[in-house]
Symmetry: C2
DNA sequence: TGAACGAAGATTGTTCAACAATTTCCGGAC
DNA sequence: GTCCGGAAATTGTTGAACAATCTTCGTTCA
C-alpha cells in the first residue's frame, strides 16, 4: 500500500492558527483525492492522517463529516474511512443527475455563455492535437461545468462539481481505462454549433443522447472489469 | 473462505449505541428547525446545546459541519452558529434550483408516478376544505418532492429536500405571512390533468410559469417587509 | 490440513478538560 | 454621548482517556 508514502508528502498545517482548520483539512484531502494521489478504496487512518496533517483527530473528524456528505469518502462505522469508489450504482446516479441538469441548463439556462463554450472546445481540440489526454479531460470537465454555470445557480453548480468529482473517482478506479475523452471533443463541438445556430432544444436533445451513450460506454467497461 | 468472511460481508446492524451520534444530533436539530421550534436567526450556543442534547461539544461540532453544508445553519467564525435566514438572494437561489429540476423531472423523469400526484392533490383539496393550512402546506411540499422522485435519482432528491427545507425557513421568517399555499392547490391540480393527458411538455412549461409567479409573489412580500 | 475459537492489540466513537484567539459586555474617562 | 480598556464569555483546537468494536494471530480440535 503506497498510501503511507503519499500521506507523508502532505503539507503540514502551518502559520495561520485559529481559522477553520477543519475546512482547510477537507480542502486538502479533496484536492489530494481529485488529483489521484489518494486512490479509490484507500483507507484514511485517523491517527496517521491527523499526524501527517498536523491537526488533532477531532479536527480531522470534522473534515471527514464534510467529505462524507460530499460522497467523496465512505465511512463505515467502527471500520474506518475510505476514499469512495463508485460502482455501477454510483455511475448510474452520476449520469442520472447529469441527464437532468445539463439539458435543463442548455434549454432554460438564463446565462448561457456560448462564447465561453466555444473557447473551451478550441482548447480541447488543441490538447487533442498535442496528445495531452490530461488537458483534454480537464477541458471536458470545464465544458460541462460551464454548461451548468448557465443556470446562474450556486446550488446546482455545487452539485455538478460534486458529481464531476465522483466522475474523476470513477476514472481513477479504472487504471486501465481506454481514452474516453478524445471522442467527446467533437461531440461538444457539434453541441456548440447547434447553440450558435440558436437551436437550444435540439442541443438539449443531442446532449441527452450523448450522456446516454457515455453512461452505457462506462458501464460496459465497468462490467467487463469484474 | 471460512465462515468469518461471510459474516463480515453482511450488512452492518444499525441501532448500536456506539455509532453516528453526530448524525443523530444533526437530524434532531434539522427537524427542530424544520418544525419552527428554532426560528431563523436564532443563535445556537455550543455549550447550551451540547448540554441540552447530552453530547459533547466535539460531537455537536460534527453535526454543525453537516448542517452548515446543508445551508440550514450559518457559521460565522468566532461569532457562533445561527439558524439560516434566507433573504432575497436565498429565495432566488431556491427558485433557481426548482425552475431547473422540477420541469426537467416532469419532462424527462423516467419514474413519473401520476397516480401518486393525483392522490396528493386530492389530499390537499381535503385539507383546503377543512381549512387546515398546515396540512395543505405539507401536501404541497409532498407534491413537489414526489415530482422530483420522478427522476429516480437520490442526489437530486436530496438537493430538493434541502431546498424545500430552506423554503420552510423562508416561511418561518415571515411570521405575518398570508396564506401562500391555498391557491397553489388548483395549480397543482391542473398540472396533474395535463400529465394525465400525456402532455408532459405542456406541463413542464406551465410549471415553469407557476414557479416564476410564486417566486415573484414571495419576493414582493419580502421586499415590503423591509 | 483446515476451520472454529478466543484472547491480545489496534482502531474507531465519544467525552472531558484545558488553553489560545476573538468577540462581547460593561464601567469609567473625556 | 462616545470612545477606551479590560474582564467575562464564547469559539477554535488540542491531547489524553476510555468504551466499543474490529483485526490479528496463535491454539485447539475435528
Amino acid at each position: 500500500m503506497p498510501v503511507n508514502a503519499l500521506i507523508s508528502s502532505l503539507p503540514l498545517a502551518e502559520g495561520s492558527t485559529h481559522a477553520h482548520t477543519g475546512a482547510w483539512v477537507a480542502s486538502v484531502l479533496r484536492s489530494r483525492i481529485a488529483e489521484g494521489h489518494l486512490l479509490p478504496g484507500a483507507k484514511l487512518s485517523e491517527q496517521a492522517l491527523a499526524e501527517a496533517l498536523g491537526v488533532s483527530r477531532n479536527t480531522l473528524r470534522e473534515a471527514f463529516a464534510v467529505l462524507d456528505h460530499e460522497l467523496i469518502i465512505t465511512r463505515i462505522p467502527n471500520r474506518g474511512v475510505f476514499v469512495a469508489s463508485p460502482g455501477v450504482a454510483g455511475v448510474k446516479e452520476i449520469y442520472g443527475v447529469r441527464r437532468m441538469i445539463e439539458p435543463a441548463a442548455l434549454l432554460w439556462g438564463p446565462n448561457l455563455n456560448t462564447e465561453a463554450l466555444v473557447s473551451i472546445v478550441i482548447e480541447a481540440r488543441a490538447a487533442l492535437a498535442a496528445g495531452d489526454i490530461e488537458a483534454m479531460a480537464d477541458a471536458n470537465q470545464c465544458f460541462h461545468e460551464e454548461l451548468v454555470r448557465a443556470t446562474g445557480n450556486q446550488h446546482l453548480q455545487e452539485l455538478m462539481t460534486r458529481v464531476l468529482a465522483q466522475m474523476r473517482l470513477v476514472f481513477h478506479a479504472m487504471s486501465d481505462a481506454p481514452d474516453f475523452h478524445s471522442h467527446y471533443v467533437e461531440l461538444n463541438g457539434s453541441l456548440v454549433e447547434l447553440l450558435q445556430a440558436g437551436r437550444r432544444e435540439d442541443a438539449a436533445n443531442e446532449l441527452r443522447g450523448y450522456l446516454d451513450r457515455a453512461e452505457a460506454e462506462l458501464l460496459a467497461h465497468l462490467d467487463e472489469e469484474n
